[in-house]
């Protein structure tokens, strides 16, 4: 805490164009506040000549006439910023200024109400003054940081993020669990919309990464633990042995000539393919135990599937001309200090065997779309191929969501197939074809092909025929006709689910996921956030998407982490502060923090990690002992404002309403209402809070105890809170409070929650009027003096 300096407050009325004097009796207000406690100067700024004012005010400040300012009147956000920076240059801390806009509080040029408006203005200025007295100078906090970053997952998304970060001259560690980078895209045959070879795109990005030395790639590795916070993550990584020295091996292949292990190619029926196997060992294996990495040759060094080696065999070791084979290499554990992390752990195909009615795994000629990718050419006897869309997607028994890519994938596969086998007839069974935007072109291209029939219907079951073909019976929903078709090959357009690696990293990093298991983010305000500061998510770990969006989101995520990759990280000083002498270790702050910012200190108290904190103040709202205060909207400052509301300026039958406004949506809505000149009644007083979750029940109790007849709590709409769950927090607490009011024989309607969007100005004004009417019917608050 800074040294307490007795506040000397300057109050400046901005009466630009007689803005204020038309509404209130300035001549009465100025002398009244000149005498107020701690006020050392109270002036009306002369209209016009802002420049002159500026020098004058700075001069007065430098003469020591005041050490904080309360501005009364209308200032645009730009004007506020200019005043703050100009005065900061002169030495006044920007957090020692307070702004009191009377218009926002419903004070307009109403001649008839001038008297009443003056009284309300008096209260409003008192409220702001009470707060100004309690303001504290704050300086940005500096946390030590580092310019290194860790990317988890080396698929397409991860590689693009790595390239972007390397270009920004950051040190990048890439953690990949396979023996090489490339991910799922490396397994694909073609990419839409250009129907190009995906290895081309991968090679392009890999070339970029190969050129720089600031990228360190760790394959066969997984993140096992993380400590610390943004700027200072300590990431523990377990690296399985490769048994081949990455520096020395040049992939000459001599070892493969001597390897005694010969395994048959893994197949599963006539269309069998090399599926992404479950363990590293299998994945890296092709025919013998020592083999090139998988799925791409980056890094180049070979890898040995050690469990497949015959006992005591060291043939490859002897054969290697570069002495690169390290058969006794142990696993290693590495620790990286990084400023931020990026998670691009990607997707897995949905297990189509679960969509039992389509017989995947039961009939050899039912294959998945991923397996179809790996078919080079189809056997000649194949004349008819069926594609079933939404196999598992958009189905509440399987995946509730649309997997986004399957339509385009099927169209692409049909195009490729028809190119090689023009005589093949294709049936596409679909509910909707979803190729938004320019993807329509792909759809039209396939529509124009001969021998491709789109059937808007899904089969219920697939049955083998005696001749081995598959029978499909559907109702063509356009004509209502029954169709009995048969195909030689059936491709199921299976969906995308979060990869196993996504689940794994979510557990290690404690990243919240949505009901579908993907990382949740707040679109469009914080699109790549993971709800854990300093950790960004990109690509398909965020939801099903095509390669285009996967690359874009990963690059966006890379851009987003840049502020964390500095030697020192600057944190806005409006952080929560814990008063440990009050804290009872109940940990509600920890439970309710949407960003997991709280940790235990050595004595079991909550401790906020300033790097992680997003400064919503939810902890302050939740603390039953008022032991948490968010700086610059401290519980004392808010309480002082609440207490300064004096309902007695209105007649007893006129209800007084105190409204807490969320700074993100509700406050702009109200400000806009004032700009539009909508009627904001004099009965209402607004107090703005960083997030509605910051409103502690004690503040509401204060408002009622000091005589407000109603308390309105205006937060964001559900699911739109910038801090994820502010409005849910206040809802739960509000319900507790209402129950208590009920037991006190007070009408629980005196506390009301509402959700506003940023442009709900008219709705807000209507709500206020109807609520005031309701409060009028309820009669005055029994605590109102």
């Amino acid at each position: 805490m800074s040294l307490k300096v007795t506040p000397k407050i300057a109050i400046f009325f901005a009466n630009e164009g007689d803005e204020l004097s038309q509404s209130v009796d300035l001549a009465a207000l100025v002398p009244r506040f000149s005498r107020a406690k701690n006020v050392s100067c109270c002036e009306v700024l002369p209209g016009g000549g802002a420049g002159k004012n500026r020098e004058d005010i700075i001069a007065k400040y430098q003469q020591g006439m005041f050490n904080r300012i309360l501005w009364v009147g209308r200032f645009s956000p730009e004007q506020r910023r200019n005043w703050e920076s100009d005065l900061a240059a002169a030495g006044l801390n920007p957090y020692l200024q307070e702004w009191c806009d009377l218009r926002e509080q419903g004070i307009y040029h109403e001649k008839d109400l001038r008297e009443l408006q003056t009284q309300k203005a008096m209260i409003l200025i008192q409220m702001s003054l009470a707060r100004t007295r309690l303001l504290e100078p704050l300086e940005p906090l500096c946390l030590p940081g580092t310019d290194a970053v860790l990317v988890v997952g080396g698929g397409t998304a991860g590689l693009h993020a790595v390239a972007a970060l390397a270009q920004a001259k950051k040190k990048v560690y890439l953690i990949e669990q396979q023996s090489a980078v490339g991910g799922k895209v490396a397994e694909l045959g073609r990419l839409y919309p250009r129907i190009c070879d995906p290895h081309c795109g991968l090679d392009f990005i890999i070339q970029k990464i190969r050129k720089t030395k600031s990228v360190e790639i760790h394959t066969l590795s997984r993140v096992v633990a993380v400590e610390g916070g943004p700027g200072n993550f300590f990431v523990r990584v377990l690296k399985a042995p490769r048994y081949v020295d990455e520096e020395r091996c040049n992939a000459c292949g001599e070892c493969r000539k001597v390897c005694p292990v010969v395994l048959p190619e893994e197949t599963s029926g006539p269309y069998g393919c090399q599926h992404a196997p479950e363990t590293v060992c299998e994945s890296t294996f092709r025919k013998c135990a020592i083999s090139p990495p998988w799925p791409l040759n980056f890094p180049t060094a070979y890898v040995i599937a050690r469990p497949l080696c015959p006992p005591h065999c060291r043939k490859c070791e002897k054969a290697c001309p570069s002495a690169a084979v390290l058969l006794d290499q142990p696993p290693t554990e590495l620790t990286f200090r990084v400023g931020a992390m990026l998670v691009t752990t990607g997707w897995d195909p949905y297990a189509l065997a679960k969509v039992e009615e389509y017989g995947y795994g039961r009939y050899p000629n039912v294959i998945s779309n991923l397996e179809m990718e790996q078919q080079d050419a189809l056997p000649g006897e194949i004349r008819e191929v069926g594609f079933i869309q939404c196999a598992g997607s958009r189905d509440e028994r399987h995946l509730d969501y649309c997997s986004a890519v399957c339509c385009s994938v099927t169209l692409k596969q049909v195009l490729a197939l028809k190119e090689k086998n023009p005589a093949v007839r294709c049936y596409i069974f679909y509910q909707d074809i979803r190729t938004p935007g320019l993807g329509e072109e792909l759809y039209q291209r396939v529509k124009a092909l001969e021998g491709v029939l789109f059937i808007r219907a899904n089969p219920a079951v697939v049955r083998p025929r005696q001749d081995g073909r598959l029978a499909l019976r559907v109702e063509d929903t356009f004509s209502g006709k029954e169709l009995d078709l048969s195909v030689d090959l059936l491709v199921l357009a299976g969906g995308l689910i979060p990869s196993e690696g996504t689940s794994e990293i979510a557990d290690v990093l404690k990243l919240p996921r949505n009901a579908e298991g993907f990382f949740e983010s707040h679109l469009p305000c914080h699109s790549e956030e993971s709800q854990r500061t300093g950790i960004r998510v990109g690509g398909t770990s965020r939801g099903p998407m095509g390669i285009d969006r996967a690359i874009e989101t990963a690059q966006q995520a890379a851009l987003d982490v840049l502020p964390f990759l500095q030697e020192t990280i600057e944190v806005t000083p409006t952080v929560p502060v814990l008063n440990l002498s009050k804290c009872d270790k109940c940990k509600r702050c920890m439970e309710e923090c949407p960003f997991g910012s709280f940790l235990f200190d050595a004595e079991g108290f909550s401790q906020v990690d300033l790097g992680r904190c997003r400064q919503c103040g939810g902890c302050m709202g939740t603390c039953p002992l008022l032991a948490v205060s968010r700086r610059h909207s401290t519980i004392e400052q808010l309480a002082a404002q609440v207490r300064a509301v004096k309902p007695s300026f209105l007649a007893r039958e006129e209800p007084v309403l105190l409204a807490f406004l969320c700074a993100n949506d509700a406050y702009p809505a109200v400000r806009r209402a004032a700009e539009l000149g909508l009627s904001i009644p004099l009965n209402v007083f607004h107090i703005t809070v960083p997030c509605i979750g910051a409103v502690n029940n004690a503040l509401i109790a204060d408002a009622l105890a000091f005589g407000s007849d109603g308390v309105l709590i205006a937060g964001c709409r559900d699911g739109q809170c910038h801090y994820i769950k502010g409005n849910q927090l206040i809802k739960t607490r509000g319900d507790d409070l209402k129950a208590k009011l009920q037991s006190m024989i007070m009408d629980p309607r005196r506390v009301r929650l509402t959700n506003l969007e940023i442009r709900d100005s008219r709705a807000y004004v209507e709500l206020i009027h109807s609520y005031l009417k309701e409060l009028k019917e309820m009669g005055p608050n029994p605590f109102r003096a």
């Binding site: 039992e356 017989g359 049955r463 083998p464």
Partner: protein
Amino acid sequence: MKYLYYPGCSLKGTARDFEESFKAIAPDLGIEIEEPGDWGCCGATVAKSLSKELAERLPLKTLEQAAKANRELLTLCPNCYLNHQQALDRLRKDETAKASPSRFPDVKQLLDVLGFDLGPEEIKRRLVCSLAGIKVLPYYGCLTVRPFPPGGTESRENPQIMEKLIALTGAKPLSFPDKVDCCGGGLLLTKEKVALKLAGRILKVARRYAPDCLVVACPLCHFMLDGKQNAIERELGEKIRIPVLYITQLLGLALGVDHIRLGINRLITSPRGLLGKFTRN
């Protein structure tokens, strides 16, 4: 294992061989049953087509009996099982609203009891004869797996529990793609032609696999595939001649139970060929 046994109308009539074979093997498998004298019809599919009230009322009587006896309820007929299970779900839903633990015991169908309460291991221990050499095609029909699959966990599209039971006897279970298709039994007395068409489709596919017999767990399926096989043959204009056994009869054979006690003499499509193979072994 002791159950309150609910027979249902068919089991006393056209499916008396089902009941007989079940009662004949129950002691050998360690299943005890208690049969109330005054059970009433569950309403089949008829009650729910006519009146909601009637459909909801009819199964209650037996559920009350089960609650009173504090025994799980066992039904052989899948249709009776479905009606009782649905009634039980309704009761429990009401109960959860009242937040009291249920006083109504579970309802089980034959495959629940054989496949899960008892379990293949336990059954295998008790079998005495091997039926090796015969090929058996299991047919589930609809209501044994839909909407409540055996054990609550079986697949509704590709259940395996009958296959497992058949394999226990030494017989070879064949994989039948149409095993959960509808036999049309519900339409026999209203749309006979359609019913025969559906059952005919199943028998035709079945014949492709050249089984020694079909095995079922439903009285209606049995009636359609066995009792109406003649009529189906006339419709199709070709011979089928596949005997259709209840799963209980097949298990009974493996338990060494006498044919007469298993009601095998009551089959309409002659099982002589099958039994010949069996006795030869």
